[in-house]
């Protein structure tokens, strides 16, 4: 492979590596600024390379684009690792993020990160996977970031008929002993 080719392959690989959602070809084309045929070639090369070299991850085409996944052959080890994690950190982060989305919806990932002070992408994905939040559309702003809001499942989980039933923020609330 030529140096330029290696470089382009590495750039696409870096983008896939960092992305927390499927990357569309159109997105790769616009970020790397190369023709779609070249992107196709790189994606095929990467897919083959990973499988030939028995990597721990795979490149798969899923709804909306390409995404790296851990190799299913090693799922049992991954499960063992996840079970060994301390989940309190995740829980705290997930609940904070959920409360921000519930009260400030529609919000973008950038809004959430700016309120929490840290990147919250992983947590947003977890909440999506849990069916508690969903995409509402795109913000009419540069980059057209995705707007998120809570789902019906969120309402059900809390026994709410509608979002209007969320406790008001400005109401004076005495310390709740039952917490």
């Amino acid at each position: 492979m030529s140096d330029l080719k290696v470089r382009l392959r590495s750039i696409v690989e870096a983008l896939l590596f960092i992305s927390d959602q499927p990357l569309s070809k159109a997105k790769i084309v616009s970020v790397v600024d190369i023709p779609e045929e070249e992107v196709n070639q790189i994606l095929t090369d990467l897919t083959n390379e990973y499988s030939r070299a028995d990597r721990g991850f795979q490149l798969r085409e899923v709804a909306g684009g390409y995404r790296l996944y851990s190799h299913p052959a090693y799922a049992s080890y991954i499960e063992k690792l996840i079970l060994s994690f301390d989940h309190r950190r995740l829980t705290q982060a997930a609940l904070e993020t959920l409360s921000i989305i519930a009260y400030k919806q529609p919000v973008t990932r950038a809004d959430i990160a700016s309120i929490r002070g840290v990147n919250s992408d992983g947590v947003v994905n977890t909440l999506i996977n849990r069916g508690l939040i969903k995409e509402l559309g795109k913000q009419d702003a540069p980059g057209q970031p995705i707007l998120y809001g809570t789902t019906n499942r969120f309402l059900e989980s809390f026994g709410l008929r509608s979002l209007n039933e969320l406790p008001p923020l400005d109401e004076f609330s005495p310390d709740d002993p039952t917490f």
Partner: protein, 250 residues
């Protein structure tokens, strides 16, 4: 010496930062600081803050006072008899100041090094994509036992924290506080006490203006002879000692 007029005044990270800047402009060794000259320049600079209608932190004024103190002590004739133990000689005052400047300068230098590291590091992005859907079931249900009230409190906690930081970044017109009001409050706080440090008194102060007003209130009580003040070392704790001479009621 008049400072050249600049459209925008350089902002300093504190009195030590300003002092170091003045010293480095003179290209002199930190151990050879000419106190008289540096004091004058420092005061000029602090004055120019006022000309530009900028707030001056109490810290800047405190340093000005310290410099003047050392300068004044330098000018006074040397005492024959051994100095009072509490008195800091001009030489000692100068040495303390230099030691503190050097300590600060060390951290200022190393923070430059850390900045370079931080910037290099910001080009590495860790993979932070969260769990794949198939492993999601392994995480315990974090909604278990969560009440709506707690969700609300959680939001307020994380959102309020943010608000405070935003406000610190903004320039906000200070709301006028009444010294009289603080004198009353202070008397209330000191009731039945023998002594309290200024830090403890101002633990709950949320902004500088409040802190300064409290300080003025302390000075007012001192003027009225209701309290004595003590400070063991430069920048040390300021102790407010309630004057319990008979007949004096705080």
């Amino acid at each position: 010496m008049a400072l050249p007029y600049q459209l925008k005044l350089e902002m300093f990270e504190g009195p030590f930062d300003l002092l170091l800047n003045l010293i480095s402009r003179q290209k002199i060794d930190i151990y050879e600081i000419p106190i008289a000259q540096i004091t004058r320049e420092y005061l000029d600079y602090v004055d120019s803050f006022q000309e530009f209608d900028l707030e001056i932190g109490t810290e800047f004024l405190l340093m000005a006072a310290t410099l003047l103190d050392i300068k004044a002590a330098n000018l006074l004739p040397k005492k024959e008899e051994p100095a009072d133990e509490d008195d800091v000689s001009p030489q000692e005052g100068r040495e303390v100041l230099i030691a503190r400047l050097i300590e600060y300068k060390k951290f200022k230098n190393v923070s430059g090094e850390l900045t370079a590291r931080y910037e290099a590091e910001s080009k590495y992005y860790p993979r932070d994509a969260g769990l794949e859907e198939q492993f999601d079931g392994l995480i315990p249900d974090f909604l278990a036992g969560l009440s709506l009230g707690r969700l609300r409190r959680m939001f307020l906690a994380v959102y309020d924290k943010k608000e405070i930081n935003l406000m610190q970044a903004d320039h906000i017109t200070p709301k006028p506080l009444s010294v009289d009001e603080y004198v009353k409050r202070l008397k209330e706080r000191l009731k039945g006490l023998k002594m309290k440090s200024f830090r403890e008194l101002t633990n709950d102060c949320t902004d500088k203006v409040e802190l300064i007003t409290m300080f003025l209130a302390v000075l007012e009580l001192y003027k009225r002879g209701k309290v004595e003040l003590g400070q063991a070392e430069v920048f040390g704790e300021i102790m407010i000692i309630v004057n319990d001479k008979p007949g004096v009621v705080v």
